[in-house]
């Protein structure tokens, strides 16, 4: 650890010598002033409560949409009923076309 210059150290020592020691007791009425100027904890207003409720609903709705999308994506599309469709088409062609 480095040290201060000895003369500087001596200067600090001289500067430390206090004239009369100051009182460390709180002045009269100090605590009352502090208490009066403090900001008491405020209960949430109606608007803040509505805001937090709306935020909750938004999150729930978003979660629902994401879940639905995941379910939809995870479902594989079934193969088209080509056989049935072609036979029905054949029936229509053979019976209804002139």
């Amino acid at each position: 650890m480095n040290q201060l210059d000895p003369d500087l150290k001596r200067l600090l020592k001289w500067a430390k010598v206090e004239s009369p020691p100051k009182s460390t007791e709180a002045p009269f009425g100090f605590s009352g002033r502090v208490w009066a100027s403090r900001k008491p904890a405020q209960s949430p207003t109606l608007f803040q409560e509505l805001q937090s409720t709306a935020w909750g609903f938004s999150c729930a709705a978003l979660a629902l949409i994401v879940c639905g999308a995941i379910v939809l994506i995870s479902q594989r599309p079934s193969a088209p009923p080509t056989g049935e469709f072609s036979s029905a088409l054949g029936f229509l062609v053979s019976n209804f076309t002139p």
Partner: protein, 198 residues
């Protein structure tokens, strides 16, 4: 239950303060005032009233009281609030002058000479006053944090551990910062003396 020298039951007192008990708040302020005012006096920004600063610190303390979990003694918790508040107030002044020999008053210049020539312990009151002013000026070159460290470590001769408890800074950070602050002060002091010898 945490008890202290003044026989104030901190836990009970805090519980009552949280229930808006003004008498308990008064006891708490009276109990913590010496701790706070000592920090304020050692780190008072220029042109600031110590009582105003102390009041702001206590208002902040009451606002943050719910965050106090009792993991550290109440005095340490409050001293950290006080230190941060004072450092912010000093930092807000944004004034870090570089001092030259020519900027010093006559008593301060004489004092610098006296330091090198008079080894005696008993100093004239005027010299002590000049010493206080000169030290204040030298410290203004330092950052608020370094200033606080030099005041506590070098002038008040507190230990690193004590500073750690009061500030919440790590021991390593305190040592590194103190090292740099001493180097800076030494450099400035030798520069002033060189200019004085010219």
């Amino acid at each position: 239950m945490i008890r202290n020298d003044l026989d104030l039951d901190i836990t009970d007192c805090l519980a009552r303060v949280r229930q808006q008990d003004q008498e308990a708040a008064r006891s708490l302020v009276d109990f913590l005032y010496p701790t706070v005012i000592q920090i304020v006096r050692g780190n008072l920004p220029r042109r600031a009233a110590e009582e105003d600063l102390a009041q702001e610190i206590f208002v902040k303390m009451f606002a943050k009281l719910d965050q106090f979990e009792g993991q550290v003694p109440m005095q340490h918790w409050v001293s950290r609030i006080a230190v941060n508040h004072c450092l912010n107030a000093i930092r807000a002044q944004k004034s870090r002058p570089e001092w030259r020999m020519a900027d010093l008053s006559e008593p301060q210049s004489e004092l610098l000479d006296a330091l090198a020539t008079t080894p005696g312990q008993d100093q004239h009151p005027a010299q002590l006053l000049a010493a206080r002013e000169l030290v204040d000026q030298l410290f203004e070159v330092l950052s608020p944090e370094d200033r606080l460290l030099m005041r506590w470590l070098e002038m008040e001769e507190r230990s690193v551990e004590e500073v750690r408890q009061l500030t919440g800074w790590s021991s390593a950070a305190i040592r590194v910062r103190a090292f740099r602050a001493r180097r800076k002060l030494n450099r400035l002091f030798s520069q002033l003396r060189k200019e004085g010898q010219l």
